[in-house]
């Protein structure tokens, strides 16, 4: 199967046309609402763009606040999840005890915990990072554990016949073999981490920065343009994160799982 290069018009033109249609529909709907005086339902695209262009520094700074919280959460939650996955892959009894719970928690909307965590961890960045880390933790645990277990059995037999230590088997075989699973997890949890960070900012009282905070304070003041401007920035952030992880994945898997490209 041949995939078209990204710069080929057939690759990007449909998406650009769809986006233009959406913007036109938004413009038509917003201006008809504005004509009836109902400006609090939907701001005009032009107003949102003016808002973004008017104070780009503020949006960049808030975006960085939210993004750094999200990435810290991914680092903490992801590292803990990979560590636990390694332990569980080595101790099957523990895995049988823990995994049913992890699978249930993986399907639970853990962002619902955010208010309780803010109460528990107080103000500042900590509760937000904790919420994000929890959001990230279970998908990474479940996916990476299945990756660690998917190491080819014949290669495992060869290493066992050499009496390679558990650490050697982990380092030489299981961890590299789990890299595709790790990237599958990252594709899921990086956008999810932004959701976690934003929700944490929503519920953290006294939060003064971040796109989530910007959205709640603007909405409370009936200012819709900043709300939509923040949403656009969040969408761009998600796209950039996904693009970054796909780019790194391609390079890494070209070496570690050449058949999967």
């Amino acid at each position: 199967m041949s995939t078209r290069a990204w710069w080929h018009p057939a690759t990007w033109l449909p998406a650009v046309v769809a986006l233009a249609l959406l913007a036109t529909a938004w413009q038509l709907l917003a201006s008809s609402l504005a004509a009836r005086g109902e400006t609090y339902l939907l701001p005009l695209p032009a107003d949102v763009l003016t808002e973004l262009g008017g104070s780009p520094g503020r949006y960049l700074s808030d975006a960085w606040t939210t993004l750094s919280t999200a990435l810290l959460g991914v680092a903490v939650g992801g590292a803990l999840a990979v560590a636990l996955a390694v332990v569980l892959s080595e101790v099957p009894l523990l895995a049988r005890a823990v995994m049913p719970l992890a699978v249930v928690l993986n399907t639970t909307p853990v962002v619902a915990l955010a208010p309780a965590l803010v109460v528990a961890f107080g103000f500042g960045r900590t509760p937000k990072v904790v919420v994000t880390a929890i959001v990230v933790f279970f998908p990474v645990l479940v996916t990476v554990l299945s990756g660690l277990r998917a190491a080819p059995p014949d290669a495992f037999a060869v290493l066992r016949s050499l009496r390679a230590s558990r650490l050697e088997v982990l380092r030489r075989l299981r961890l590299p073999a789990a890299l595709p699973a790790l990237f599958t997890a990252l594709r899921v949890v990086l956008p999810l981490s932004v959701v976690g960070a934003v929700v944490a900012e929503f519920v953290a009282a006294g939060s003064s920065a971040g796109l989530g905070t910007l959205i709640t304070t603007s909405a409370a003041n009936y200012q819709l343009a900043p709300v939509y401007a923040a949403i656009i920035v969040l969408a761009l952030m998600g796209v950039l994160l996904l693009g970054a992880v796909v780019a790194v994945e391609r390079r890494v898997l070209a070496r570690y799982a050449p058949g999967r490209r």
Binding site: D154, A155, A157, S161, L162, A164, A257, P258
Partner: protein
Amino acid sequence: MQALAGVDLDVRQGSFTSLIGPSGCGKSTLLRAVAGLEEPDSGSVAVCGRPPSAAAADKQVGLVPQTPALLPWLTVRANAELPQRVNRRADRRRAADAPGPSDVVGVLQEVGLGAVLDAYPHELSGGMQQRVALARAVAMRPGVLLLDEPFSAVDEITREALRRQLLALWEHVPTTVLFVTHSVREAVLLSDVVVVMAGPPGRVVDVVEVGLPRPRAGEHLDERALHAVEDRLRAELSAAWAATHGGPAGGPGPAAGRERGA
């Protein structure tokens, strides 16, 4: 489920012994027991006079599984050097009284992979990948070399080349070979001794000395003598199959006892 029952087998040191038998008769299980990957519920296995786990701990067990089992992120050379990179304590222990591992690059060159040392497995054909697996096992100079249908996934021409290379390696790096195969002809062409198995549960029904001079190729090959051994083995196999699955021919009863490796 019981995989093996009544396997009493003594493999001569330095010999080439093949295990043949129908699918599910426990050939691979027997091989895994010799490699120390399976513990028998009763009986014992000895490799070079010691339990398989002790032999494996000293890197005396070279295993070539059905698939090449190469690590896709390592080059040909690094894959073949894998045994030297793990369980290093075994090399220090071994250095005193036994010849150390062979020159890995030399073995790779011997099997015709000298030009692809820095290639990755996905850049190689199936036959070349299997040669890397062979070189990986042989270069560590194991006391026993265990091959579990290593050539089953390659075409007949490649298979023949792989057989020749296996025999050439065995000549240069003498070791006791246990070779699992489905092919009667392959077993006769390669082996000193062919062990006929039946089951499940797996049992040894006969141990046949091939007794043909080597090399067994080209003008040296006595086709008539070869066919005679093949015919005998085929008859044994069909009798054993009938005894297991019900049929007119009666097979010999199971020989109770213990398992003994080389």
